[in-house]
Subunit: 99 residues, 5 copies
């Protein structure tokens, strides 16, 4: 999994019928502090995330191992909202502080 920050949303009306009802979030990979760092991609949301939150996302076939995404053509899913990242004994990111 990678850390990422939710930075936006993507709307698609003409799409694979099985993706109906999924929310597609624009996310950007981030480092332990939540600072932008890496690729921008689109992930299905399985946990009710919102713009600005730091999340964990899983890629590949793992992205279909949720009730929402099972059997659907999605290759990335947000599967956790991050509360805290600890690195080298320090809390680098805390959800309450960072927003």
């Amino acid at each position: 999994m990678y850390l990422a920050r939710v930075v936006g949303t993507v709307v698609s009306t003409r799409k694979e019928p099985t993706t109906e009802g999924l929310r597609f979030m624009l996310i950007r990979q981030c480092g332990p502090n939540g600072e932008p760092d890496g690729a921008t991609l689109v992930a299905a949301d399985a946990v009710g995330s919102g713009v600005g939150e730091v999340v964990l996302y899983a890629s590949g076939s793992a992205a279909r191992q949720t009730t929402l995404t099972d059997g659907r053509p999605v290759d990335a899913v947000i599967m956790g909202i991050v509360d805290e990242v600890e690195l080298g004994g320090d809390a680098k990111y805390c959800k309450g502080d960072a927003e």
Copy 2:
């Protein structure tokens, strides 16, 4: 999933028999504005996309989770045509404007 713009097509007549009837689109990864940004690859089309459109594509085993691509040797599928990308509260891309 990644955002990409459809930039062309690929024709192959000698190919795996199970890929018969699939349309192979040449796509280029793009950023939230639809501007070129990243790799150029080939994806099967599951939604009737056309050259110039910004689309969402899925990679890996996810690319076989559509009726068209099930059980076929394809590793990328266009599974949505993008209407709007919102980033930081602004609509960065709107289908009608951008073409």
Copy 3:
């Protein structure tokens, strides 16, 4: 899928028994004109390709979705020989011309 040109072959006699009979081609990713561009890798051949041809290959679990490669430890398969690549309304590559 990616475009690639077949640039050579790889011979292995001590190998997984299930890969017996597969042809392993050395391929190099290429752009829409067939010009070298990207990684060199090894793919199983499912379509009778030859050195010099521009091909489409699929990676990951997709590489096992052919009769030849089903259930075998291969992660890349040549699944089409390219006749034409059209980009921006122009034929960038035509099989007859390019060889």
Copy 4:
């Protein structure tokens, strides 16, 4: 698999229910000496690893081939704690020495 050093932990309370009970470790890819080298990512822990240890992790669908992670949306798992790395006839890393 890649070598990585465990550098921290990630806490998430709002997450996919099936990930309940998994420990998410922040890991950084490392070279044969255990020196930092490459991406920082998050892996589920299947072997009771601790911060500071050099580990082996597996990605993709392999990450679900443990009792702990089976059927869960995780794409990276720590599946071994490294005791020794030998390169070119020399022990480049030994667990006891390096900590």
Copy 5:
């Protein structure tokens, strides 16, 4: 698949029980001549390879398509020992010569 040279070994005693008995080889991607070129990673050995040999390895779910690795958390497997690489009509690597 990619070409790689076996450059070392990795020892792990505390590990996923299902990986018991597998040999973990440190491999470095190489070019058609066998020269180092690319990432260093760890692969399970399915063919009895040794340090110094040039091999073919498969990644992802393909790595579980051998009797040794079936159902185990490994994402890379050495599935062939390379005898010869031919590129542009020339033998760039021959097993006997190169060692």
